[in-house]
């Protein structure tokens, strides 16, 4: 009996541990990075990998390793990640417990998930980013950031988790594109659900299944099963087991509804993309981390996960707000009032998509500084200040007669040290992205 109790709490315990580890990994993102793919969780996310492959340009090849580990794990065990590790799934489970009564037993909503997945992948081919609002790990990581720093309310996470109040794990069974991708891989998993002759057809398993993976005729859906083992647990006759057997390979349940939903999602995303672009002003110049892609590709590649913001050694990377336009929201922008770029390369190492890839120091040009002579105490009041000259790492700021600073535009790399250290209220030297060097 004791053993049974322990088994019952094994999954929640694993989920809590995973949530803790994932949160820790996010907070542990800092210089010096410990691995070549140092945003370990997002680097292992096959959806982020596939959607980001267009931006990768070979430099990103080492990052394939964690994805391979993840995929092989799913090939063997199925969607264990969803049921046992995914923090969003865990929160959905917790909130789902608040759902009173049994309600109507729902299935997989016509496999709409694959429609969403297809739409997301097609969008990615056309370098349009939707993972920022579609990948659970990205959403979770950003939610930790905005919650802990009290900068915003994690609305998307709340909607996902809240949907569990209506249908258990609604997101996981009907929408999540990452889950859909893992589901397809799961078809090869040998750990299938076996039902023996003791089954009396009560279908208690079906009503208890949080993933909608058991049909009215007690057929099991390998692509939906999150291996929570609830069916095994609740079966009054112990007829259910998950011992290894022949994989469910060919059984892909595509439905007309999935195609419809795919088309609708694709249409909706395309329209919203058009709307977002239309209302995002082009003129707003945002300084980007060194090694960023050119602006349009950058906005497509960046999943807004917050890894670079968290890892930035100079504390200069901040998530862009609404003022930079809706399309740029939560993308990394440099705020030289908070810090300056140390050229440590950490942002490029933790970026999971290749939106930023670290550059050698001589290739870095984030922008160009400009002296605002009206504010500068040396130009206006002959004060021997010259902090800017002192802190400039490239000797780009010349101080004629140790007095008035002027800038050599070719030498300036736009690190922002001058702006950060300028003692003048309102800053007499400012860095703009003018002349920046981006990856193409």
């Amino acid at each position: 009996m004791k053993f049974r109790v322990g088994e019952k709490y094994l999954r929640p315990a694993t989920q809590i541990a995973s949530l803790a580890v994932i949160t820790f990994l996010f907070y542990n993102l800092r210089y010096p990075v410990s691995m070549p793919f140092s945003s370990p969780l997002l680097a292992a996310d096959p959806l982020v990998g596939m959607a980001g492959v267009v931006f990768a340009r070979g430099e990103w090849i080492p990052a394939v390793l964690p994805i391979a580990v993840f995929v092989v794990g799913t090939l063997v065990l199925g969607r264990v990640f969803c049921g046992w590790i995914c923090p969003v799934g865990f929160l959905a489970d917790v909130v789902g417990r608040l759902r009173g009564g049994s309600g109507r037993v729902r299935g997989r909503f016509g496999y709409t998930q694959y429609g969403v997945l297809t739409a997301v992948l097609i969008m990615s081919v056309f370098t349009i980013n939707v993972l920022a609002i579609a990948d659970p790990l990205v959403i979770f990581q950003r939610s930790i950031y905005v919650t802990a720093d009290m900068v915003a309310v994690p609305v998307i996470l709340m909607i996902i988790v809240g949907s569990s109040l209506v249908v258990a794990r609604f997101w996981c069974r009907a929408i999540c594109p990452a889950g859909g991708m893992l589901g397809i891989i799961s078809l090869a998993s040998p750990f299938c659900r076996n039902v023996d002759g003791r089954c009396n057809g009560c279908l208690k398993c079906r009503s208890e299944c949080p993933a909608g993976a058991i049909s009215k005729s007690n057929e099991w859906d390998a692509t939906g099963c999150i291996k929570c083992l609830k069916c095994e647990e609740v079966c009054p006759n112990h007829a259910v087991s998950f011992s290894p057997s022949v994989p469910a390979m060919p059984a892909v349940h595509a439905s007309r509804r999935a195609f419809l939903v795919g088309a609708v999602v694709f249409g909706a995303l395309s329209v919203s993309r058009g709307v977002v672009s239309a209302i995002t002003p082009d003129q707003v110049a945002v300084a980007r981390p060194p090694g960023s892609l050119v602006e349009d590709k950058f906005n497509a590649a960046c999943v807004r996960c917050g890894s670079c913001v968290r890892a930035c050694l100079g504390k200069v990377i901040t998530p862009a707000g609404m003022s930079a336009g809706l399309e740029r929201m939560y993308t990394p922008a440099l705020d030289f009032g908070r810090g300056f770029c140390q050229r440590c390369g950490t942002c490029g190492q933790v970026c999971p998509t290749g939106a930023i890839i670290s550059q050698s120091e001589d290739k870095i040009k984030i922008g160009t500084a400009q002296v605002i002579q009206k504010l500068c105490v040396a130009w206006e009041h002959n004060t021997r200040c010259l902090v800017c000259n002192e802190v400039c790492p490239t000797h780009a700021i010349k101080g004629a007669d140790r007095l008035r600073p002027s800038i050599d535009l070719d030498l300036c790399i736009g690190c922002g040290s001058c702006q950060y250290n300028c003692p003048v209220e309102g800053k007499a030297i400012m860095v703009s992205p003018a002349g920046e060097r981006r990856r193409k």
Binding site: Y31, P32, I144, T147, A148, M150, L313, G314, Q342, C344, V377, T383, R384, C385, L386, V387, N389, E390, V391, C392, P393, H395, G399, R402, S417, N421, C422, P423, V424
Partner: protein, 353 residues
């Protein structure tokens, strides 16, 4: 949940800061202590008063009305700062310069010729060494201390009986990056020493200073704990002040250096800071000298292989200027410091080994 946890954490941090923020100790070293005692303050009395302030502050914090401004100095600190400002001359003015191709031997020879550290570092003392590791530049560029020079200085303090020897600096570039790239972290680690990067406004406290329009300066709180305060500057050129050595080095113990530059004036502020925060000993690292392109480099690096030791910061800097091919009067803050009586600019009686 997460909101609640963060709020709780911030509240706890706030409470802690209030409690530590108002303790009365304002020691900067034995020299400051002697000044306090000369002003009729016994160490016992000083500690008693400090203790009273701490207890009072703790009481305030515990009783929940913790509206104490953490940046505000206690009356004791203010008193100490006012007393220190009276003092001018230094007793010995002895200046030693040694050269050796081995950095550690150069330190040893210079310290031995100066008479060792006896009388400066006593058994059980806590020694803080204001080093210079302000720049995330490779070791050879001469922007930071030579790691072996710094380690040897700290080792000599330990050998003299110090209970704890810590290198400090408020760095320009990120402190961790500076320590790594300069090779100082590796050298300190292997010798069993540690460095503290001074940072965060909360870890500094206000001191009265009179300089231009500035009436106060934020000085690191870690020096409250110091029995001995040693300045171990790198001798190098400087874009604004022409030279950076013992006096300029002290700008690495304050917060908000920008105020020295503007409104400033910078050279006068350096001198005024040196009058308030006087080191017990200056050990100048001129093993490598960044002759041009200072303070951050890169620039021309020359190799005098020298170490300068003096308890007179003006004498030490006067000699340092000659290494850069300057006349002492070329460096305005050295000239002003001599004029203010902080030390002797006459280095004729210098010991050279």
């Amino acid at each position: 949940m997460l909101y609640a946890a963060t709020v709780a954490r911030k509240l706890v941090m706030l409470a802690c800061r209030n409690r530590t923020g108002v303790s009365g100790d304002a020691m900067t070293g034995r020299w400051t202590r002697s000044i306090l005692e000369r002003g009729g303050w016994s160490r016992r009395k000083f500690l008693k008063m400090s203790g009273a302030v701490v207890v009072g502050a703790a009481g305030v914090a515990i009783s929940g009305c913790g509206s104490v401004d953490p940046a505000a100095p206690s009356w004791a600190a203010t008193e100490a700062a006012q007393v220190t400002a009276r003092v001018t001359a230094v007793p010995t003015g002895k200046l030693v310069v040694c050269s050796n191709s081995d950095p550690a031997k150069a330190v040893d020879k210079a310290l031995d010729a100066h008479g060792g550290l006896s009388g400066i570092v006593k058994s059980g003392d806590r020694v803080y060494v204001k080093a210079n590791f302000s720049w995330a530049k490779p070791a050879g560029q001469g922007a930071c201390n030579h790691p072996d020079v710094l380690v040897r200085i700290m080792q000599r303090c330990k050998d003299a009986g110090a209970a704890r020897v810590i290198a400090i600096d408020n760095t320009i570039d990120n402190g961790q990056l500076c320590l790594n790239r300069s090779g100082i972290k590796a050298a300190l680690d292997s010798a069993g020493f540690s460095a503290v990067v001074l940072g965060g406004e909360g870890s500094f406290e206000e001191r009265k200073i009179k300089c231009g329009s500035l009436s106060s300066v934020m000085v690191t709180k870690v020096l409250r704990d110091a029995d001995v305060f040693i300045s171990a500057p790198v001798v190098k050129s400087h874009g604004t002040t022409v030279m950076s050595a013992g006096l300029k080095n002290l700008m690495g113990i304050i917060y908000g250096r920008g105020e020295f530059h503007s409104p400033g004036p910078l050279d006068q502020c350096i001198v005024d800071l040196a009058g308030v925060m006087r080191p017990d000993l200056v050990i100048g690292d001129a093993y490598r000298v960044l002759k041009t392109g200072g303070p951050g480099g890169p620039g021309e690096v020359i190799h005098p292989n020298e170490v300068i030791v003096s308890d007179d910061p003006v004498a030490a800097d006067t000699y340092a200027a000659t290494l850069l091919g300057l006349k002492p009067e070329d460096v305005e803050h050295v000239r002003l410091a001599a004029a203010a009586g902080l030390g002797k600019a006459d280095i004729a009686g210098m010991i050279r080994v």
